[in-house]
Symmetry: C2
Subunit: 279 residues, 2 copies
Amino acid sequence: MRDLASSLRWLSLNTATVREQWDLRAAIEGCVQHGIPGIAPWRDQVQALGAEEAGRLIRDAGLTVTGYCRGGLFTAPDDAGRRAAIDDNLRAVDEAAAIGAQCLIVLGGGLPAGSKDLAGARAQVRDGIAAILPHARAAGVALAIEPLHPMYATERCCINTLAEANDLCDALAPDDPILGVAVDVYHVHWDPKLAAEIARAGPRILAFHVCDWLAPTKHMLLDRGMMGDGLIDIPHIRGLVERTGYAGPIEVEIFSQDWWKREPDEVLRTIVERYRTVV
Amino acid sequence: MRDLASSLRWLSLNTATVREQWDLRAAIEGCVQHGIPGIAPWRDQVQALGAEEAGRLIRDAGLTVTGYCRGGLFTAPDDAGRRAAIDDNLRAVDEAAAIGAQCLIVLGGGLPAGSKDLAGARAQVRDGIAAILPHARAAGVALAIEPLHPMYATERCCINTLAEANDLCDALAPDDPILGVAVDVYHVHWDPKLAAEIARAGPRILAFHVCDWLAPTKHMLLDRGMMGDGLIDIPHIRGLVERTGYAGPIEVEIFSQDWWKREPDEVLRTIVERYRTVV
């Protein structure tokens, strides 16, 4: 495994971690000040500045864009809705290219309104990814399918295991680096097939996200923990990922009503310390 | 699929559904009054009356005991703790026999205190089930391994997919009806492998539990929904289960701070109505 203690070179900040305190400009400055070389911004922040300007600011700061959050969310109750989602993803690919993102994070989407058909929703996701692949290829923007925890299956993302993400890659773009997966310890740590599916993913792993699972978890969306404060064996999962040859960024993404109340420099100092000691 | 609308013969009440309103004696009377022929009591309630007396009351009321909640919870930080858990399970088997339960529900247990090793916890569960199997066989009490939703993996139950439960059956007691699985729609509805694993379970299915997944879910433990109020396609899952030949009880188990505040006869009336119309 890589030696994280002596270097921050693989560390990246997902800007959602400090989204209540800092806009993108402030987050870029924060990364520079704390020696964090990577950043993963969200679409609303990039669109607020314009993708060209956002890309210029990030490049001028010397930061790497480790991922762009987020595309996908393809499910909709009718053709017009699905078409609109695809169009929006085409724009997201263009924005990702403009800011130089290493990948666009792609989520599934939940059940369409009025539906309880998870298999149908999953088919819509497959079709949506297939529809944007040619444009992603032309733009040179890799798509990283991120399975979300099964507790989000119905409302947010119906791709819930790394096995499903790997299956989608096999079905849509086998052996093509334009399509891969994002592994977030929060979403996959529980999976009894995790070691096998990480090994299967291999070079498809485009992103690795860390945070922690708090016990108890008080809110299903907004109570993620800082690394080390919860029950996920992060070094174990990192070891599985790195044994595939992964040498890319380690991105910190924490949605937390608790950490959003803290002073943002304290958040980044804590991230740096925990990255060196418990990731 | 069976015709539920015209008969309540397969309906069972898990007493947790009205645990804040009724003790076991009252729940037995409630089942009789509402025409619910099955009941699944919890250990604290049975122990409060004594297993012999509880069994007598249930038999005198003409009810079937569709399951006994609950055994398992084998994980512990040391040998003494694991031994105590096994001893407690041996007593649970005896109680299940005394009340004539069709099966003892077996949960995994969460991470032992101080551990983040889910694979180790899962091995402890396997060893725990293996340790009580001979006594279960001697007592004629079938053990139903119930996978819980992955959001409970770390704190409550590290067996989180029907595939794992099936694997445990294969490993510990292949082709032996003493060991099987319980399928609860709340815990498994999200699983992309669900149809295949239900088919694989086949005659191992000892129990089928229903409730619903609310959107949003406000509490990870105590906000289950009444059937029809959420996003689970219950008839679809029931169809998968019945296509294996399952002809056993359909047990309603709802942990809900909302329904616990309602008048218990209203709860049972609603269960009967929803059982006839949306299960």
